[in-house]
Amino acid sequence: MKLTGAEIIWECLVREGVDVVFGYPGGAILPTYDALTKYPQIHHVLVRHEQGATHMADGYARASGKVGVAIATSGPGATNMVTGIATAMMDSSPIVCLTGQVGSRAIGTDAFQETDVTGVTLPITKHNYLVTKPGDIARAICEAFYIAASGRPGPVLIDITKDAQQMAAEFDWAAAAPRLPGYRPSYQAPATEFARAAELINVARRPLILAGQGILKSGATAEVLQLAATAGIPITTTLLGIGVIPASSEFNLGMMGMHGEAWVNQAIQQADLLIALGMRFDDRVTGNLKTYALNAKKIHVDIDPTEMNKNVPVDVALVGDLRGVLAQLLPQVRPAEHREWWATINAERGDAAVRDVQALPDSGHLYAAHVINDLWRATKAHDTVVVTDVGQHQMWEAQYYRHEQPRSLITSGGLGTMGFALPAAIGAKFACPDKEVWVVVGDGGFQMTSCELATIAQEKIKINVAIINNAFLGMVRQWQEFFYEKRYAATPLTGPDFVKLAEAYGLKGVRVTARAEVTGTVEDARAHGGTVVIDFRVEQEDTVFPMVPAGADLADMIRRPKRDVLAETGADREWQMPPAELAARPAAVKPARRKTARPPAALARL
């Protein structure tokens, strides 16, 4: 069948199971857009900025596990994609980006809207292609989808010249099967390594599982929980590992790292064995490498061999797909309980940083912690996906929203891309139209990509946006507070009236300034038929605690000052303590000081 290159592109996408693409047209991709009219089975979402297209494809991929697709034209269209591609690369998200390129004869002449896109994206893609002939398009797309989704997933870019889109070629899908002799998506570790790993687990007295996003990619939640249950091993997660292990699991201690739980970081430093599963010892997780987990042997399971011994030297490296590795390892693991070890951790947990935010009085100030915790309570019974941006609100979300399901938190981890949340949430909504999608975003990050509200309006989709508005670039301000003697250089931030902004896009906007309004507003937003933007005016100079300063020892955390209104009460394990005992704690605030007295029955819900 003879087709134009542009038609071949769509034929391939249909065969790859693509039903939605996120893109922005332009000169060099026009033939492809023209051919789009012949393919009504593919829905094209017109974005407002190409960065948004890549984040949408990324959000779609993270919410669904399928490959997301973004399309842009040459030159500025493609360079606008760079941030989104780098985001997907750092967080191993499978996306395929299609970009138009100037005609093949114009390449290298500095033609209008010409950029060396394969050169620009070379270090931030898993692989990329420059296609100059229509006959090469099908194989490039087929390989791109295969590479993006297999092994350690990642972004793949295909740059297609305008003449390759215009000219015709024979289209043969079967002949387009990947021919990648050098590509090794996975490895199989030798049996001797499994025996060594099992031996380390069986002799360990203070083992700890570090759970990362690889568990999600591999679909190995059940196996990890089985390992924890068999050998009595506590689990801690990375930021991207949140949701992979249910927050309510008795084995889940919470998040590790810079803003992780203090008892988790203590446990890491005290452990005699770390079992790292699908995580990569990022600097935000380890703190100072020279003092990181010195007492512990390390077993590292990851699909990517380059992660082995990259940051932390390990004793056993098991390269391979996590699920397969654990299935092979589990029969060799002996049952254990590690009661002493659990007692040590629980003791730390008891008097350390439990954030019993619900028990705190309504001081008249609105705190982000309250907003996020109330949001969790209002949405936890529903199938909810939360998409966060980057900064303080992201850490508060990780701390105060308890995720029970994989893929229920989507956030930019490795690259820390502000502006990620809103477009990624649009992608997530297209992936899961039946789920409730909440954006939790700062006022800074929101302003970076708020133009995508127009995309939401045009597509008539329902997303709820919670802007944690503190009129500061909060995380940077926090660093300035701690490390630059409160010299707030360029962090105070004005913004538009977000309510009016939402209304300008034809959406609903609401402002919340008091805690009493939070739950009602969230419920109203859920019930509203269209997208709602909520402007939560929170305390301006609130701080994310605890915190490990960059490069400091993991055990060396900055703790919340005791006088602070959001005092760590040292109360219970995650709001489950009986109310009587809660009241008996000296650090807990007495009910008499509440502005609105709460009956004991309400406390029992906690």
Partner: protein
Amino acid sequence: MAKHTRIAYVEDVPGVLNRVTSLVRRRNFNIDSLTVGRTEQPGVSRLTFVLEASEHAARLVEANLYKLVNVLRVDDLTHKPALTRELGLVKVKVTPETRAQVLQLVEVFRARVVDVDEATLVIEVTGTPEKIGKFDLVLRPYGVVELVRTGAVAMARGHEPLSSNPPLVRAEVAAEMPSETADLAMSV
């Protein structure tokens, strides 16, 4: 820190050298020399790396090379009996008094004079990188005008195949890899 020699077989496609050098640059690996050329197999190019690195760093380079889609295989020649050769061209000043001395050195180093004029000689020398370094050193007093070196190429001695599997962190190619591609990779 020691010298490590790695041979990488790569698909001969546009941009592959760029991919390799970009990797070296962005991962901050320190490369002594890198040469590239065709091989006995059409469509396959061969890169020889010499790294000044710890064993650990050299392994990371290898693992990262494997991650490039166009890299077919990486061999480690560091601890194997191997031949390493480099070619150098040296343009050295000569006077009627020194010409004979220089020619004597050329003789000793089994080098060849490839160009002569009234004031200079161009000498071609092949051998290990150390030998070429030494040759440069002994010519310096006469005045080296220009020196160019190709970088090392290397080949294992004997007929034994190096490693049938990528020796990467003691792992083998997974079973789920399409078998014909696995064969292709191994046959290279």
